[in-house]
């Protein structure tokens, strides 16, 4: 056997919580890439946030050696994929670096929306799919039922497919053998011009950008001048090598079929976008990989430092994060209410939450985030077409001939018992019902066209709560659709607060306005004077509440022993005041903005 014939490149795809990361850990352990006692749970999920949320945000890859029952030792390259719809493009690029995929399905849950979505992505890349039924140690596991469901719904043979428990390690060998026998080796000419696919990259403060690639054709060496075909940038490679479970291992060369990394003193991951083709600058390949596109933000929000003086720190932090996240965009913006900050673009709401959390956690920043907005497409009376990602820039309605908003094609899988509630929810979110198909006797798949605007806040949470957690969701962008939009403004003490205004469908303006003033009434601390809170459309007030004046804030007792404590208390109170944003004469804590953001939760 040639070296290439012994390489197996594969991914694991699954719905969230079906055990993808646990299975990856078990495979690492069984191939003895790491000793059991050194195992920290979920090796591939490196970031704290990933581990806490139990999701994979960035792809990772690792090279393993497996001695199969035929006596040969095979080289496995396990490429992990992000498990959330915000990162679908990254998933598809990771998959295209593979020849096969393990499709993990929870034996107690069966197929879910992301199972299907990821399977379709894998099929698009012509991958060999090995179904794996996981969690068979659970009492409610239904192995045969799930196998049948895979055959019926996805249409791939699953009879006798591996049934395992990633948690206990039961039957993991079956999977390893299947990888050897079923997943084809890569076929690529080692002597052709160099052609590699970038499926991930990250910034390392010592090495610069580390690019993860799959070599499709040719050979990759240190000291070569490489060209990134879509960006056109050229670099001299400093080091090439493999990813082991313990870190990067330099190698002399990587040849067709292998998965590895390149360092080339590159300063930003923006230069090494996922999906781009790496080739030899002097002797380039004729055809780059198809399907490349730069990451496109779908959701925008203003991010401001709670303490205005921290603006430069926020800028530095965003720049650092962008080194590692090509999908994050940001531009300086100024808000009357919030001062200097940035308009940031994200792949989706999860991406936004992760960035905000990382800014707060890794850079110790206290942030105010405005309500997320999608990009609206407006055709003006003079024929000009403009795109608006910031409600503050929404033009005078008189000048708008046609307003459009982005919509998504959503697929929701839900037990039949909850279909009614879910359909109500979709209707409430202005969903356009397309059709419904039965997965089996107890579950259906619903198809809707939904405005993106309606699902970026909390649609997923609402979906879960109306289905006792059983519903699953997947969606993809589906262009723009004409809509009756209005800009809702919020006034505190008679002054418009730009950071609180948002764009909403006309039919929902009243109820949203009502809710927002109630939320603000409950979340704005009492001031020295009474503060009216109003919601208005084009100057017309549609809802009003009042924040009553502060009446009592006093320490009843202040004797000898209380004095030091009282001073600390006042100090803390002063510190808290510093975090307040002054909106006209009203002081509002940053949390208020977050509370308004979570408007739809009830």
């Amino acid at each position: 056997m040639t070296r290439q014939e012994k390489i197996r490149n594969f991914s694991i795809i699954a719905h969230i919580d079906h055990g993808k990361s646990t299975l990856a850990d078990r495979i690492l352990e069984k191939t003895q890439s790491i000793a059991t006692r050194d195992m920290e749970d979920q090796i591939l999920d490196n970031m704290d946030i990933e581990r806490e949320r139990g999701i994979t945000i960035k792809a990772r890859a690792v090279k393993l050696n497996y001695k199969a029952s035929d006596g040969e030792t095979y080289e496995f390259n396990l490429i992990d994929t992000p498990g959330h719809v915000d990162f679908n493009y990254e998933v598809s690029r990771s998959l295209s670096a593979c020849e096969g995929a393990l499709l993990v399905v929870d034996a107690t849950q069966g197929i879910e929306a992301q199972t299907l979505a990821n399977t379709y992505l894998a099929l698009d890349e012509n991958l060999e799919i090995i179904p794996v039924v996981n969690k068979i140690d659970l009492p409610s596991a239904n192995i045969e039922g799930v196998r049948k469901e895979i055959e019926d719904v996805i249409g791939i043979p699953a009879d006798g497919c591996p049934a395992v428990s990633a948690k206990t390690g039961l039957n993991i060998e079956d999977i390893l053998e299947k990888i050897v026998t079923d997943i084809p080796a890569h076929e690529g000419d080692e002597n052709a011009p160099l052609k590699c696919l970038i499926f991930d990259s990250y910034y390392d403060s010592y090495r610069g950008v580390v690019i993860y690639v799959r070599v499709a054709e040719g050979k990759l060496r240190a000291g070569q001048t490489i060209r990134l075909m879509n960006t056109g940038a050229t670099f001299e490679t400093v080091e090439v090598g493999y990813m082991s479970a313990f870190g990067l291992v330099p190698a002399k060369e990587l040849s067709a079929g292998e998965v590895g990394y390149i360092t080339a003193s590159i300063k930003s991951v923006a230069d090494t976008q996922v999906g781009d083709t790496v080739t030899n600058d002097e002797n380039p390949t004729a055809e780059p990989f198809p399907g490349f596109h730069a990451a496109q933000p779908m959701v925008y929000a203003g991010i401001y430092p709670a303490d205005g003086a921290k603006y430069p720190d926020l800028r530095d932090a965003l720049e650092k994060l962008r080194l590692n996240d090509a999908a994050l965009t940001f531009e300086p913006e100024t808000s009357i209410a919030l001062g200097f900050g940035f308009r940031c673009g994200f792949l989706g709401l999860l991406h936004m939450e992760i960035i905000a959390e990382r800014l707060e956690r890794e850079f110790n920043l206290d942030l105010v985030t405005t309500a997320p907005s999608v990009i609206y497409k407006l055709t003006m009376r003079n024929g000009e077409v403009i795109y608006i990602d910031n409600p503050a820039n929404y033009p005078d309605p008189e000048q708008i001939a046609k307003a459009e908003e982005p919509v998504v094609k959503a697929s929701i899988i839900v037990p039949t018992d909850y279909v009614g509630g879910i359909m109500d929810l979709c209707r409430d979110r202005r969903g356009d019902y397309k059709n419904m198909t039965y997965i089996d006797k107890t579950r259906v798949e619903l198809h809707y066209i939904l405005p993106l605007n309606e699902i970026i806040y909390d649609f997923f949470d609402a979906l879960k709560s109306r289905s006792k957690g059983y519903a699953s969701l997947d969606y993809e962008l589906d262009g723009y659709s004409e809509s009756k939009l209005v800009k809702l403004e919020v006034l505190l003490n008679g002054e418009v607060v730009d950071a609180l205004s948002f764009i909403v469908h006309a039919d929902k303006a009243y109820s949203r306005g009502r809710k927002i003033v109630e939320k603000l009434r409950d979340n704005i601390p009492r001031q020295l004077f009474e503060v009216p809170v109003q919601a208005a459309i084009g100057g017309r007030v549609i809802a009003r509440e009042t924040v009553r004046a502060m009446r009592k804030d006093v320490l009843a007792k202040c004797y000898g022993g209380d004095i030091t404590r009282k001073k600390k208390l006042l100090e803390k109170q002063k510190e808290g005041k510093k975090r307040m944003r002054k909106l006209g004469s009203v002081e509002v804590p940053p949390e208020t903005f977050m509370a308004v953001l979570k408007l739809d939760e009830e």
């Binding site: 004077f529 502060m550 320490l555 202040c558 022993g561 005041k577």
Partner: protein, 388 residues
């Protein structure tokens, strides 16, 4: 006063309680076995300060708690004698004992009187037995009445009664019946405290209790009308929570608010002498063992709550403003100028204007004071005007 004698207040913390009340976070223990050892430690502690005390003129002594009236008379006397023999005590010194209704008998009252105690502070809290039991107090209104009468019979002519307002489920009418009852007993002094919820107490952790507390607007109503009623009945409001008949303000507590020096003995007690704030550990065992080892003062230690801090000029100024604004008399700008060499009016010009506009602060003959509305939001005002 002899030459070089520094006026001083002495506070003795007696950290024993029959049991801990559900809302209270003052330091106390229920192990009465420790009393004898505690007394010896306090006596040793007092003697260890001989050098400092011999130059002082003690104008006030205050036994606070805890429940000082739980301490056997003989032990209280040992502590007082230690003070008398170590420091010069002014002949007209105010000597206060905090007492719980129900712990007072004619026997211990007459002993108190004999040893020089001339002021009692009785923790009534409420005149309603249902409210008292909700507060987990150990006494009833009848027991209070009995204690109060006995004290009068033993000749105590300077008595304070503590009341709490904004109790869970309390209405304004209920509060007024409490206040009117206390007024009818005719004490010299009344303290009226808003219930403060301390997060680490059973009250602070009980959602049902928390939700039954009158809201901010009701509390405002209660406080404003209670102050008014008390003043109508001859109790002048001289501090946020304190009311007294003419010349009956608590001299010891006034030392705190007027930024005078006081020294304290006992665990969790705080001193302010020579511009230094000192707090002993909230830990009786530690207090006892330290004194046994003749280490009256340990190194400051955050874990035990032991702190020592020398105040710089700015901190002294903060302390001055913060405390004086608790008083009806307010800030005397002349005294301020003399102390800090600065003009109060100039330094706080903008802030004064802001708060005077809405009548939270007003001018007095000698300076500025908070109005009642201002007092009620004094945390907000102080945290705004003071620099830390």
């Amino acid at each position: 006063m002899q030459k070089n004698q520094k006026p001083l207040g002495i506070y003795v913390h007696v950290p024993f309680c029959v049991h801990k009340c559900a809302y209270c976070d003052f330091y106390s223990v229920t192990d009465m076995e420790l009393m004898r050892e505690y007394t010896s430690a306090v006596v040793a502690h007092i003697r260890s300060k001989k050098k400092f005390l011999k130059n002082a003129l003690v104008e006030t002594i205050y036994f606070g708690g805890g429940t000082p009236s739980l301490l056997p008379v003989a032990q209280l006397e040992r502590i007082l004698n230690a003070i008398y023999s170590t420091a010069a005590v002014a002949p007209n010194a105010e000597i206060t004992l905090e007492a719980n209704p129900g712990t007072l008998t004619s026997k211990n009252l007459s002993a108190y009187k004999k040893m020089g105690i001339n002021r009692l502070s009785i923790g009534l809290q409420s005149a309603d037995d249902e409210e008292l039991s909700a507060l987990s107090r150990i006494h009833t209104r009848a027991e209070f009445e009995n204690s109060f009468m006995l004290a009068r019979m033993e000749g105590f002519d300077n008595i304070n009664v503590d009341l709490i307002y904004a109790l869970p489920k309390q209405t304004k009418a209920k509060l007024f019946s409490n206040i009117d009852y206390v007024i009818s007993m005719n004490p010299e002094h009344i303290s009226l405290y808003g219930l403060t919820i301390e997060p680490e107490t059973p009250f602070g952790k009980n959602k049902e209790i928390l939700s039954a507390i009158p809201d901010e607007d009701e509390q405002y109503e209660m406080y404003m009308s209670a102050c008014k009623r008390l003043e109508e009945c001859g109790y002048f409001q001289y501090e946020i929570s304190n009311f007294a008949k003419k010349d009956c303000g608590c001299k010891h507590n006034l030392k705190y608010w007027m930024n005078k020096e006081y020294i304290s003995f006992g665990p969790a007690a705080a001193s302010f002498v020579e511009n230094t704030e000192y707090t002993y550990a909230r830990d009786i065992e530690l207090y006892l063992s330290n004194l046994k080892n003749e280490k009256a003062i340990r190194q400051p230690d955050e874990e035990t709550g032991e702190t020592e801090h020398v105040l710089d000029e700015e901190e002294l100024e903060t302390r001055f403003v913060m405390l004086h604004f608790r008083l009806r008399a307010g800030i005397n700008t002349g005294e301020y100028q003399q102390k800090f060499g600065l003009s109060f009016e100039k330094i706080y010009e903008d802030k004064l204007e802001k708060y005077m506009k809405d009548k939270f602060i007003v001018r007095t003959e000698h300076g500025f004071r908070l109005t009642r509305r201002g007092m009620l939001i004094s945390n907000t005002i102080l945290s705004d005007i003071l620099e830390f």
